[in-house]
């Protein structure tokens, strides 16, 4: 079988690469959005990390404890998010070699069961999709500094 390991390693690398690339841009880009003003770049960056944290907590079998950001409204939030991503993405790699199994957890007190493979797959997919949205919102405003092609799996493999 082909392991999900490479996609998790790529995710960790692309998350760090793209968040750092956004950090180098003018602070105003964090307020850019495509159509829905609620979903500006800063919010997508935060949402991606919140979701990854929740998925990893479920895999770890611990009661989910939300991340509390010190600077959610300032550009400094990216430093915080980068630290969280490093922790979460590193932790996610621990689950690669496990046998697939049911993971039991609660959402708003309601019991849920999900396969570990579903959680890890959703984690990979969710971050890839939102990174593409972040770069699309930049492109839309004519900020072309980040080329998604540079953050493909081929890019990751060639740099290792």
């Amino acid at each position: 079988m082909i392991s999900i390991e490479l996609l998790l390693k790529h995710m960790a690398w692309a998350n760090q690469g793209i968040y750092k690339a956004v950090q180098k841009l003018d602070d105003e880009v964090l307020d850019y959005y495509i159509i829905d003003p609620e979903w500006h770049i800063r919010r997508i960056l935060i949402h991606t990390v919140y979701a990854a944290h929740a998925y990893e907590q479920r895999l770890a079998g611990v009661e989910p404890k939300p991340i509390e950001l010190k600077n959610p409204d300032s550009p400094e939030v990216i430093d915080e998010l980068l630290e969280h991503l490093e922790r979460i993405d590193t932790a996610a790699l621990k689950y690669v070699d496990m046998e697939d199994r049911d993971i039991h957890y609660k959402i708003d007190g309601e019991p849920r069961t999900t396969k570990a493979s579903t959680l890890l797959s959703q984690m990979v997919f969710h971050s890839a999709e939102h990174r593409a949205q972040v770069v699309a919102a930049l492109d839309d405003k004519g900020v072309r500094d980040i080329n998604l092609d540079s953050f493909a799996v081929f890019g990751y493999v060639s740099q290792q």
């Binding site: 079988m1 392991s3 495509i34 070699d97 496990m98 797959s121 949205q133 492109d139």
Partner: protein
């Protein structure tokens, strides 16, 4: 070990669903783009399938064959793309069960090699990223009928 099987099955499902949703929209949406007029919705849709054709050929050690379409300039192209996707994505699901190995193939720049895991991971990532770009281009033109959240891994698992 957690494999890429769920992600391959999700990719096959999401490709079919999103292409069929676009098919229901007015033909003019195929010409929408975010910033680069070369990367219209239609060109991205063709690009996803063309890349899958190349990656799939390499993974399955098939001789190089050029990806061609009969109706590339008309909206009929979506039917063709859907057929190609069904064929290609079915094979990727089978590929998720293979042992990882180094695969040698010929490109326009000469002989190259890549691990099967790299080719398959790139395929999954590439399609997810470009589907997000398609929806971003629709969103930009206020065509909001396709909600990406309906095509995530959770939704695939819930419906299958």
């Amino acid at each position: 070990m957690i494999s890429v099987e769920v992600l391959c099955k999700h990719m096959a499902w999401a490709n079919q669903e999103i292409y069929k949703e676009i098919q229901k929209l007015d033909e003019k949406v195929l010409d929408y783009f975010i910033i680069d007029p070369e990367w219209t919705v239609k060109n991205i849709m063709i690009h996803i399938v063309g890349a899958a054709h190349i990656y799939g050929g390499r993974l399955n050690k098939e001789p190089f064959s050029k990806f061609t379409l009969e109706n590339s300039e008309s909206s009929e192209v979506i039917n063709e793309l859907l057929e190609h996707l069904e064929r290609l994505d079915s094979k990727f699901i089978e590929n998720s069960q293979m042992e990882d190995e180094e695969i040698t193939f010929t490109t326009s720049k000469g002989e190259r090699s890549a691990m099967a895991s790299t080719l398959l991971s790139q395929m999954i990532f590439h399609a997810a990223e470009h589907r997000a770009q398609i929806i971003a281009a629709l969103d930009k033109h206020n065509e909001r009928s396709i909600n990406l959240d309906d095509y995530d891994v959770w939704s695939y698992v819930a419906k299958n």
